[in-house]
Symmetry: C2
Amino acid sequence: MSIQKLENQVMVQNEEFIEKAEQLNPQLFETIVKPEAIVKMKADTNVIHGWRKEYVASASTLKDNEYRKSDSFILDFGNHQVGYLSMNICPAGSPPDAPLKLKLTIGEMPVEMAEPFESYDGWLSSSWLQEETIFVDVLPATITLPRRYSFRYVKFEVVDTSKKYRIVFENVECRAVTSANINAVQTISHQDMLLQKIDEVSIKTLADCMQEVFEDGPKRDRRLWLGDLRLQALANYETFRTNDLVKRCLYLFAGVPNDSGKVPANVFVAPKLIADDIYIFDYSLFYVSTLHDYYFATKDLETLKELWPTAYRQIELALERLDENSIVKDSSDWWSFIDWQEGLNKQTPSQAVLIYTIKQAIRLTEELNALEKNKLVVCLAEIEEATKTYLWDEKQQFFISGSDCQVSWASQIWMVLAGVLTKEENKQLMNRLLKEKPVVGIATPYMYHHLVEALLVSGEKERAISEIKKYWGGMIQDGADTFWELYDPKNKNFSPYGSHLINSYCHAWSCTPTYLIRKYDL
Amino acid sequence: MSIQKLENQVMVQNEEFIEKAEQLNPQLFETIVKPEAIVKMKADTNVIHGWRKEYVASASTLKDNEYRKSDSFILDFGNHQVGYLSMNICPAGSPPDAPLKLKLTIGEMPVEMAEPFESYDGWLSSSWLQEETIFVDVLPATITLPRRYSFRYVKFEVVDTSKKYRIVFENVECRAVTSANINAVQTISHQDMLLQKIDEVSIKTLADCMQEVFEDGPKRDRRLWLGDLRLQALANYETFRTNDLVKRCLYLFAGVPNDSGKVPANVFVAPKLIADDIYIFDYSLFYVSTLHDYYFATKDLETLKELWPTAYRQIELALERLDENSIVKDSSDWWSFIDWQEGLNKQTPSQAVLIYTIKQAIRLTEELNALEKNKLVVCLAEIEEATKTYLWDEKQQFFISGSDCQVSWASQIWMVLAGVLTKEENKQLMNRLLKEKPVVGIATPYMYHHLVEALLVSGEKERAISEIKKYWGGMIQDGADTFWELYDPKNKNFSPYGSHLINSYCHAWSCTPTYLIRKYDL
């Protein structure tokens, strides 16, 4: 074990864990995918972001076209892809007497083909927008772009050739990659065609996010976040069962805690494993959840034994945030994620996450015959009691959060998942929630997942199905090949980053319908 | 021998010649060059193009600087370089949570650092402007750019990182390449410091243009032109004596004539040898010159024997352009280069080039004991006689050209070089030219070279030296590290391509002062 002081954090390195994670580095499965069509994007106020694609010609006709300076075209690969682009470029006319300057714009959505990236002014780095400007000095040439892209569409813009030659594109293709074992998925034939389709798109979303780690989104961030991992792992157990990838990720997080033992919210794996200097209350606790779910999916006791101390430490650290009444302290300087919902107070949902994970920890102590069980049980009783005393508003019949006594969807949903009330009370609470619709709502598919699961655990199966079909079905209706990081049916241009151009349109935390459909037999 | 029909030409392939050229592919000598300084460019109407560089700090301090989004700096490598750039890029601050987007602008002159390439609107391809925008997904990274650049300055613009990290540049360097054998050059210690400096800059210019072939300019065109080759070869015999590179280039041209046997004005060597579809009257004839000069520099009779038919064929083809009076036909649809001078009529200078090269061909027939000698001698006599009859204007005492009887500098200069008049008459003609200064003047260093050589062959050595010092010395005064493709002391922004941004600032045809100084013992 070694300790590394970085600029904003201290990172412990558990070499043994890191080595185990390294040995679990997965094989990537490769598929060669050809474009299907040449398309163009048309402005249309009736579709999401205002752009829809229009068929121009089969991609097989591409090789018959000669392009000159200022020509452009868009290729449609027919579905979402994560992989590497290559092509042959041949000259036509006189010998090429100047380099070719070619701009490629690579995007998941029509809007990325239609609106110039130069217009982007959000607060995430513009470097996530997928584009390349390349110069080709010698033609003909085989071009293999070195970076991995996440896309369905590629726009080619011939910035310049010379007056003496044109160019022809041949064999444009994508070497698509994933570490998901596609063959392991049991196909379902749902009688509800929409649920069937939602299941398929969920699986595609998950597969495209499964690379050397479970990535949050293959276009943006491209890294392992604990909150996303927990949901991806759940979907994986029902589909690919690529369980060693979950194991690898658990070891990666355990490999680089900070000096208090807290696991980071996310890690980077290249050029070498490094913890990001972000620590999030709920994400750290989800280490317990992820280990819990992994163990019950695999019964891998050896891994549970080895990683239990890391998991237990997250509970200990979270308990340090309790006030004298056993309520998670709210403050302006902490971060619990819960959701991107603007104005959401995080106190009560975080209290619920703590309860939820303590219960999972207790179940693990039972498997391990671990001594920590008693302490956790005592602790849990105190916290649940406090929760009902201080966070339940008898008059409103809702859980409240923060000094302003905020009634949010997130608080109710997480308290239901935490099982603080009885099943019947939960059912009533969920019905009250859906009826009264408090204004502090839901911003992300991540929170929508928890809404649906809260409905399911409180016995509202039909309502859960209806929410899935409405929300994830809505994305499909709006053109999703893979499920999106963000989707607000009432504000389809929503982005928490200042521009929907930078949103991820294949995002791990949105892949859970396949888990919900299969786990709960919807 | 095989024949290949291309879109605009028929190309014969003499495999034996092509194979010989291939075997003479030179070794490239490599030197690692580090930047000297961090500089900035300041607007200054008193300097060429309106920009001068200003020292900011030693390049050794670069590694102490951290750069963020929108930061930029310029590195000065201290002299002109042709080669490959590499650097290490390290992150500072939090772990890099977004790719680095970095724009590099690579230029020979301050103006290329100061004026945006987006403003370029000339008629040559903008793809010649040296720039790259790269994305670096994983940091730290060692970046080795795959393309070869011709430059002194590199501008770094950090387009984006993320708010969480900065970057540091270390070990920026250039792997400079040339096929010139620098060690073979005999140093001269001229008592005239300016001539000494002009000699040095000439040699640097030639070295930077010597790669796998004699390139016209390492920044733009980057290929083998016959007109440039002739002058480079002359400079080479006086300096590097890398004579096999001349031999290689002679075989390359002989390898791919058209179906009438005409050699092209230029060839491309990658991905394989191909003739450009440009055939220029004077350039084809200069094949004879280049073979002539090569033979007398090397006495390589075997090569002369093998390539003589190709050379002789150029004369035969040129003779087909003579009218019934033995004068080269003028027309609107031919191209004889001579110079970029606007409005220049090419008839008379082309007639002179024909005479000049026939005389060289006759000298070669003498070495070869070739039967073609008699025909050439008879022919020459007729052409010289016709030249004096039809192109000499007794009243003006100048050679005239075209239907408008144009009196140009080029006509007089080339007729002097062709030796149509006696040495004394030539001397008078050159003095008359310099005194009367006809308006159709000189546009390029290429034509300036011929002016100086015409002065030398007509005995005006002091005037020749004065012209060299004025013209090439003027470039040095204006900041040349290597001699420029174009230099008009009266219009320093001159470009025949619509923008001085695209001009080449290290250009083969400008390297001849070292030849003139050494050959004529100036």
